[in-house]
Amino acid sequence: MPDDGPLGPEVLTGWGGAVRSAGTLHHPTAADVARRLGAAGPRGLIARGLGRSYGDPALNAGGDVLAPLPTAIGPLAGDGTVEVSAGTSLHDLVRFLLPRGRFVPVTPGTRYVTVGGALACDVHGKSHHRSGSFGDQVVSVDLVLPDGTARTVTPETDAELYWATVGGMGLTGVITGARLRTVPVETAYLDTTTRRLGDLDAVLAEMVASDDDYAYSVAWIDTDARGSSLGRAVLSRGDHATRDQLSGRSAADPLAVPGPPRVTVPFVPPVGLVTRPAVRAFNELWFHKAPRLRTGELQTISQFFHPLDGVAHWNRLYGPRGFVQYQLVVPEHRDDVVRSVLEQVSRDRHPTFLTVLKRFGPGNPGWLSFPTAGWTLALDFPARRDLAPMLDRFDEEVVAAGGRVYLAKDARLRPELLPAMYPRLADFRELRDRLDPERRLQSDLARRLSL
């Protein structure tokens, strides 16, 4: 849709639903972006993708918000790279690539993110220990700088701007497109191994011992377990299945593309449905339903990577107050922080529906990129005022251990902790002063954390 001008401000929220503000939404074409930047008022502009960031990076209170650019993909080049517009979703990209025997090397827990958003947040997936994060898979990025000039940036030609943009939360310029690497796959299925492990030590030991044998690895943690079973988990790992591993229906259509969501949560219930008893029951069931060890089970891309994509608007289940995601990373030898966080969550009986532990490989040079070698733990909590002291304590522990929290999910961090978490923050701020002295690019996240 071309840019017909604003309809007036509308209230936008993060995916968590716990932060909201009103901005003026525009539906631009790639050609409009420079003009929009030039016309940005004192509250500036931010590009927004499909709104899957949990917190406030794609909100711009009182300013302009650019909706995703139209989808544009391809063609697939001989070297396996593909040129896409920033507004292309990973869902559309996967549907384009699979029939051609290719796949995205990094996919987060949902396919409903745009390429621009994935780059700006430098998202990661279950493959980080082997493939790194999204920014590691990019050949070049098309960027419109705050002064309106268009630039194609690569890590080789302009390392500074490239690594400020990867994980830069959309504040170095508006990303309009990218050339991405893809990986070959024979099928749309994963050959998976599921293992139930009785406590945190067993989980950590197993992941250290054999994560590297699998392309993908993630542990789901039962946060209700306490005492000697604290940290008990279902570890799920996998590799792309080969054609000869398929049989029956899957063999007939080995590169079947994933479909749209099957179920929708139609409205926000007046009270959140993610309550302690419900979560407790779910955790209990989920843990015991998992096999002690099962190998060779074939799963679809949706089952393995994106189970929540099957339910549209699942975030509504948290009710009008929404929820917050807390994701930390600490170096591998600081697994005591992971243990301490799990102990406090289980002791204070905070309901967390999906707690996930992964082992990151080395991080990339992205200035504000989140991943760095070590343990990453993600937890979600229904948003409540009394969470603040606990999460503040977690922040302190994470900083003391040399770790950080994930800005794409944050909606509550105290700004003064940020420089310790992201040592290149000063460089990032200096670059913004240089590139964007008038602050044409702004967001609620940038305002809240003084990025």
Partner: protein
């Protein structure tokens, strides 16, 4: 910005020396990094209030504010906390006055109406424009259960609060969809400087209890609360008592 757990970064207290405003400021200051704009008359009370909030950990900016000088309000509110968004603006000023003097003494009656009704309308209009432009923020307006059904015993005060209450409820509706919101607070009898020496009514509360209820309501996005919550039931009953019976009630 107000964060996902309802914690503001910048708070404006209009009438910042009142016990309730101070209790609110202290409550938000429990989280480090709070910036408070303390708008009140200059003097020792304001200095003491600023000192109290600073020792609670907040950074405090003191600003001269005279409720009845409505001509000065637009420029004042426009210039406040330059470069910062106002996340929460608290309209906490008001006078109780002497109940019998307030309807017999012309000066006293006009003054009470100006401070309790005209001035809140004046700052409400200015705050609404500012918050609408910044696309987010909460205006907390201190009304009173006295405004819900005006009683003979303090009707000048009650009527001024009724008018103020109605204005801010309407302002909240007008701001719907702008990102800015209004929270109207109807406390019952609160033990404060303002009520010192008066016999406490049933269901009376402390300033700290009011502050707790307000911080929770700001976090959860409510637009109207009674403190204590039980007052809501009491008042909805009283509202429908026939006048002939109402005048005989010992309230």
């Amino acid at each position: 910005m107000i964060n996902a757990l309802g914690q503001p970064q910048t708070v404006l207290l209009l009438g910042g020396t009142s016990d309730i405003a101070l209790a609110l400021g202290r409550s938000w200051a429990r989280q480090p990094g709070l910036y408070v704009v303390l708008a009140a008359r200059p003097g020792t009370r304001r200095e003491a209030a600023a000192e109290e909030l600073r020792s609670a950990g907040a950074e405090v900016e003191e600003v001269d504010f005279e409720a009845t000088d409505t001509a000065a309000h637009p420029a004042l509110i426009e210039g406040l906390a330059a470069g910062r968004d106002i996340d929460v603006a608290v309209v906490a000023f008001g006078v109780l006055g002497d109940e019998e003097q307030a309807w017999q003494d012309h000066d006293a009656a006009v003054h009470l109406a100006e401070v309790n009704y005209v001035a809140p309308v004046s700052v409400g209009v200015c705050l609404a424009q500012r918050l609408r432009r910044q696309g987010h923020g909460v205006i907390v307006a201190f009304s009173s259960v006295a405004g819900e059904r005006v009683r003979r015993s303090n009707f000048a005060y009650g009527a001024s609060k009724a008018g103020m209450d109605g204005f801010y409820l309407g302002l909240g509706e007008a701001l719907r969809g702008s990102g800015a919101r209004v929270l109207v607070v109807r406390p019952g009898f609160v033990h404060t400087k303002m009520t010192a020496g008066r016999a406490p009514a049933p269901l009376s509360v402390t300033a700290e209890q009011v502050a707790d209820a307000v911080t929770e309501a700001v976090a959860s996005g409510d637009d109207l609360i009674w403190v204590p919550g039980a007052m809501r039931g009491v008042m909805s009953g009283l509202r429908h008592v026939p006048r002939a019976l109402f005048r005989r009630l010992p309230i």
